[in-house]
């Protein structure tokens, strides 16, 4: 079809004129400096395009950009279209970004499903200043047996040269657990309150090194039991410390990036854990190879009780029950409170078969078991847990 056989209703800017019948829209157009004339684009929004080249000389640094506290730089940009400017964009225009949507499965296609499924209430407000930003958030969610309200305050500010960013955050949440509605009645109007404070700094050390350090302190009190487990009685206080350190280093001789991280966790239940992560991002021509590994180990909570095993090493249900009944004080058989270790190995390969066809393959294998516990044997009677994850992607332009 060509523009010649279109109906006579098609005048210049016909769609815009048609939209003016909608309530309120005529007012908006009237205030626009260019009005409803043919040249409807804003005067200052000229278009110029640069594309196709990523000028970052340090490939593989995208990850740290994503994880570092995001500095909201509002430096005005002279040019109108620019690839590098993406980091200071105020907003993103695209087809609906489903990847960032909490619940997106409702509509089976179409431009966008107008869905009712949304979080009960979740509003975040951010105030931006020249080199800093302050955010406040409120969230409320409810399920049939669980209600949660959380508030948070975050501040971040960066130095004149943008090489250092400080971050400070505080948060509080208040939960109510009540399963009387489902007739179980093991938790009746129980409450839990937690308070958290986080401080962090991200520092560009050299053109090839970025480090980050975060420290989080949490204080929680109230009902921590699992109301759906028998013999689950936990302390009503759980205080936590979390320390996180990252270092990303670009190795010029290899044209590769090394991403490392270490996380330490400690709480008053007696659980301590260490997580170490390593990724090597290696571009080789059209190929990018990213091998990675992560190791995790945690101690058991003080009140975790081991199951009783038979001489053959089988789970002895009756023996375990007898032991539990005799236990005084706090107790839990929750495997997440046991001593164990875990290893994740991953490999991602992206390859451009032709300039138009890119294949990427990611393979990940996860193993969790008592034997992987940092200092020898972990909790007895735990079933090892293995998981494999394979993802193949194909992008073809035609």
């Amino acid at each position: 079809m060509s523009t010649h056989n279109t109906p006579p209703t098609q005048s210049a800017g016909g769609v815009l004129l048609a939209s003016l019948i909608l309530p309120g829209l005529a007012t908006l157009v009237a205030i626009a400096p260019t009005s409803a004339a043919a040249e409807t684009a804003p005067e200052k929004s000229t278009i110029a395009v640069k594309y196709g080249r990523y000028s970052d000389s340090q490939p593989g640094w995208d990850r740290i950009k994503a994880t570092a506290p995001q500095v909201y730089v509002q430096a005005p940009i002279a040019g109108d279209w620019s690839i590098e400017a993406s980091a200071v964009a105020d907003n993103v225009s695209g087809a609906t970004p489903y990847a960032h949507t909490q619940r997106s499965g409702a509509s089976g296609g179409g431009k966008i499903g107008m869905s009712d499924e949304r979080r009960a209430g979740d509003v975040k407000i951010t105030r931006h200043m020249a080199r800093s930003a302050l955010s406040a958030s409120v969230a409320y969610s409810t399920e049939h047996d669980y209600k949660s309200t959380a508030v948070g305050l975050d501040a971040r500010w960066s130095t004149e040269d943008n090489n250092r960013t400080w971050a400070l955050g505080v948060g509080a949440s208040s939960d109510t657990i009540d399963n009387t509605a489902s007739g179980i009645n093991t938790a009746i109007n129980e409450h839990k309150n937690t308070h958290e404070i986080m401080g962090g700094v991200t520092q560009v050390l050299t053109p090839t090194d970025i480090v980050q350090f975060n420290l989080t302190r949490g204080v929680g009190s109230g009902y921590f039991n699992d109301p759906y487990k028998s013999y689950d009685l936990r302390p009503n206080q759980r205080d936590t410390w979390i320390a996180l350190a990252r270092w990303n280093h670009y190795l010029e001789p290899f044209d590769a990036s090394l991403r490392t991280s270490y996380r330490y966790y400690d709480d008053t239940f007696g659980v301590q854990s260490h997580t170490v992560g390593l990724d090597w991002v290696q571009p080789v021509g059209k190929l990018t190879v990213t091998p990675g590994m992560r190791y995790y180990s945690q101690t058991a909570a003080n009140f975790y009780f081991d199951p009783v095993l038979t001489a053959q090493g089988q789970y002895d249900a009756l023996g375990t029950l007898m032991r539990v009944v005799g236990l005084k004080g706090f107790k839990s058989a929750d495997q997440r409170l046991a001593a164990f270790g875990a290893v994740t190995l991953s490999m991602k390969v992206a390859y451009a078969i032709t300039p138009d066809t890119v294949v990427d393959l990611k393979v990940e294998t996860y193993r969790q078991s008592a034997d992987l516990y940092l200092s020898g044997k972990g909790s007895p009677g735990l079933d090892p847990f293995n998981a494999q994850f394979v993802q193949i992607g194909l992008t073809h332009r035609f």
């Binding site: 409807t40 684009a41 804003p42 278009i47 105020d90």
Partner: protein, 305 residues
């Protein structure tokens, strides 16, 4: 006078991440205006959802093949707009085409049975919708209206109108990538500069992490983007996206992404959808609409006006 500040409100609506940003001096007034604008978005979502049994759209659809349904003035206006779009696009923008998505299972990545598609196509056609006064009637049983094709864009404009009505002159509304800018920035040092909008790259480079096609300076008006990357599957090396031609029932293939800048978001959104549907004729047609656009063709060629 108080100092200038920027407030940003993030919220979730219409299954999308949304935000409102305001530059201003009177913080309580800014908060109040934003709350009213968010309420307006929620009102529209609620009213035109096809998932709510009590929504006006559900009432119209439930009466398909039966009696005419009386509609309120706002809905009647939206139907007039839908009618204009149908005429202006040579029948390509058709709000009865939503039923076609029943044939396309994007999760299973399966091509539809031709028979299934054919039978659904018999229920597609704006010419099978009868409007008389304030009533509307779908002539065939099984027909459905879907306002999803412009509901989010209309909500962005309405939210901007609410902000404007509350005296806001420096604001940016973003509903899942459909944007309305209400005047330039006003922070000291940023006075009269435009809002910087990143255009999502339809084929982001996973190796370099480059996910943006370009950045657009938007000061006043609407910006919307349509693409073949929002929901799609690849079968035998071909991409099948969710933008379906209402005549054939098959996905369009000519454009990876089309962004349009217009005086309001409703117009920008309708134009970007119609451009996707017009395929090779899209740019000739967009040029008749007097708007700016940035489009990436199937072969990666970037075209702009």
């Amino acid at each position: 006078m108080q100092r200038w500040r920027t407030l940003r409100f993030d919220f979730q609506a219409m299954a999308s991440p949304c935000s409102i940003q305001l530059d201003g001096q009177d913080e309580p007034a800014m908060r109040h205006a934003a709350a009213q604008a968010i309420a307006e978005v929620q009102r529209i979502e609620h009213k035109y959802s096809r998932y709510r049994e009590d929504s006006i759209v559900s009432r119209i659809n439930q009466s398909a093949g039966g009696a005419a349904v009386d509609v309120d003035a706002e809905t009647a206006d939206l139907l007039v707009f839908a009618d204009s779009l149908w005429h202006l696009s040579d029948g390509l923008f058709d709000i009865t085409s939503g039923v076609l998505r029943r044939a396309w299972d994007f999760r299973a990545a399966r091509l539809p049975e031709p028979v299934a598609l054919q039978s659904l196509l018999t229920g597609v056609g704006w010419d099978k919708v009868e409007r008389k006064g304030s009533t509307v009637r779908l002539l065939q049983a099984g027909m459905e209206l879907d306002f999803g094709g412009f509901g989010k864009e209309y909500a962005a404009d309405r939210a901007a109108a609410v902000l404007h009505g509350h005296g806001m002159r420096h604001a940016l509304v973003n509903l899942g990538g459909d944007l309305h800018a209400l005047g330039a920035r006003a922070l000291p040092g940023l006075q009269d500069t435009a809002w910087q909008i990143e255009i999502q790259h339809p084929r982001p480079d996973t190796a370099s992490g480059k996910s943006s096609l370009a950045v657009l300076a938007l000061q006043q008006g609407g910006l919307a983007t349509s693409g073949d990357y929002e929901r799609f599957f690849i079968h035998d090396g071909r991409r099948y996206c969710h933008v379906l031609n209402p005549r054939t029932g098959w996905p369009v293939t000519h454009w990876q992404s089309v962004s349009v800048l217009a005086a309001n978001t409703t117009t920008a959104g309708a134009l970007t959808t119609i451009a996707m549907l017009k395929e090779a004729d899209a740019l000739d047609w967009l040029n008749t609409q007097g708007v700016r656009y940035l489009a990436m063709r199937h072969d990666g060629q970037l075209l702009q006006h």
